[in-house]
Symmetry: C2
Subunit: 323 residues, 2 copies
């Protein structure tokens, strides 16, 4: 069995995974952990391949992330970025830190040599001891774009980072998704999992883009996969905990509520994703509706503050399906 398998996005997913790792460490028999990480935010920038979500998970679990800023490396500087701006190269609104650039240059160098992204991740992790197995969802370049109201496409990073998700979006498009395949190990991990967790990541542009890679959703929703699937709500008190998930939910016509996100993921026994769904104490009003629909549910405070607290949240989620 492949232990605990977690679908995760970037910063929120990284904090959640830190909790999963701590929860397993506290167990008598810790299980292996596999993170299947979103690659829809990836982009070519200044000739370099950037993979923000993979990096956020890697840096956070390696303990070299910037807790204060919330993203990137601690002790970061921006000397190279200043140069790139002077040459008019890259996106002036997207900062490439010096330490972070070391990762981007190494990654791009290996990709250009023909190493697939999953192989690149393995090589990067030879340096960092993160205690879990991390897989990109796909080795193929599938980048999330936003279709704006005039019908034009904009890369997710531009919409999210430059425009703070303020431009009205008609829909999200995963460019290249049709011919994409899951990275080696992804389907195997799902099939062999003891339990599958959906992290408190953006349900649309993090978890949604993972599910949209061909064969991922199909495999997760297959009733031949024995592992229960439990999600933890990224919505607290009817609002997105991190970032601008409400703008993403609005675009796909889903209300920003704990119950609405669970309904969006769907109930496993009815062809959806989830067996169980943990909500915040502030959203206890949603529990009755969810229980009626058939979800195994529970509630507790869900703010991923300390590592200990994150592990407690993970334990509470696991308890829903381990009963």
């Amino acid at each position: 069995m492949s232990g605990v398998v977690v679908l995760a996005g970037g910063v929120g997913g990284a904090r959640f995974l830190r909790g999963v790792r701590e929860a397993e460490r506290r167990r008598e028999n810790p299980r292996p952990i596999t993170a299947i990480v979103n690659t829809g935010d990836d982009a070519w920038l200044a000739g370099l391949r950037i993979t923000p979500d993979l990096d956020s998970v890697m840096y956070t679990l390696a303990g070299v992330n910037d807790e204060t800023r919330g993203w990137g490396r601690v002790g970061e500087s921006e000397r190279v970025s200043g140069e790139l701006r002077s040459y008019g190269v890259g996106w002036p609104w997207f900062t490439l830190g010096d330490l972070d650039l070391g990762t981007h240059i190494a990654r791009t160098s290996w990709l250009r040599e023909g190493v697939p992204l999953s192989g690149v991740v393995e090589r990067l992790l030879e340096r960092w001891d993160i205690g879990i197995r991390m897989l990109p969802t796909t080795d193929d370049e599938v980048e999330t774009h936003i279709e704006l109201e005039d019908g034009s496409l904009m890369h997710f990073q531009e919409w999210w980072t430059r425009h703070r998700a303020a431009l009205p979006a008609k829909r999200f498009v995963s460019v290249g998704v049709e011919s994409a395949r899951p990275a080696p190990g992804v389907l195997e991990a799902i099939i062999d999992a003891d339990v599958i967790m959906i992290a408190t990541s953006n349900p649309v542009v993090s978890i949604g883009t993972i599910l949209d890679i061909p064969f991922v959703r199909e495999t997760l929703e297959s009733m031949t996969v024995k592992a229960p699937v439990v999600g933890v709500s990224p919505i607290i008190a009817g609002a997105a905990v991190r970032g601008m998930a409400d703008a993403c939910l609005r675009t796909i016509g889903v209300e920003t509520s704990a119950a609405a996100v669970a309904r969006h993921y769907g109930l496993r026994s009815e062809g959806g994703l989830l067996d169980a769904w943990l909500v915040d104490t502030a959203d206890e009003d949603d529990l009755e509706e969810l229980a009626e629909l058939g979800f195994i549910t529970g509630s507790r405070p869900l703010l991923l503050s300390s590592v200990e607290e994150s592990a407690d949240i993970v334990d509470a989620a696991l308890a829903l399906v381990h009963r």
Copy 2:
């Protein structure tokens, strides 16, 4: 007419060009200056295209070079390099400074977009006001390699920077030279020049690699080119001023002396390169031999110390052919 055309390598060539620029500034009617710069030292490193000689000229003429260290940018740091070393990417013995990396990333980004190297140089120079026209010798990738005694090939940078030219070399090989062509503007500059100068650069791996690009030597040595060709000796008192030029000269069987380098370049009227050759006062013993061979000669102290002194040296060289 295209004014003063200078064949130049890296650091030594950059100092020489600073003298040429100052010498022209002091004239009543300054002429345009075109530098044809060696690209044989170029390399792919960590997925980035590095062009050390072009950068040395650019940084030095822009006044942002590190005078103390002798190469690279002033105020340089090495944060990214530390990361690359941790990932095992690049050459641990070849430092990529942070500020310098900005240039490499910009260059590589444009090259990957299909911009030729000469176009990349133009774009880089939109940032830096260097007061001269700088051309790469070729847009093609022609990299100098060393054939070692066991017959294996080693990139020039590894031989030069890692092994300090201490490994016995059988010969130099310009990999890819057969199909290379001069960059746009190179032959035109030579054909239209008022005067052509050979900088005090390495006669083998800087000037020699320029001359070896097809049509460059042929055009320079053509008697239909009207401009006189004057060189300034990189050998002072029978020793290389900079670096390890003696190891290069030894490899091609040329003695490390001012006269021997002039004979190696050859006399223009006899199918060679030079009309005139300026030597250091310490090498005045060579003058008689050179005069007998037909070279226009002169001597003066040749150490490129200050900009003023460099300009005086350039003036003295120009005076040989302007008489």
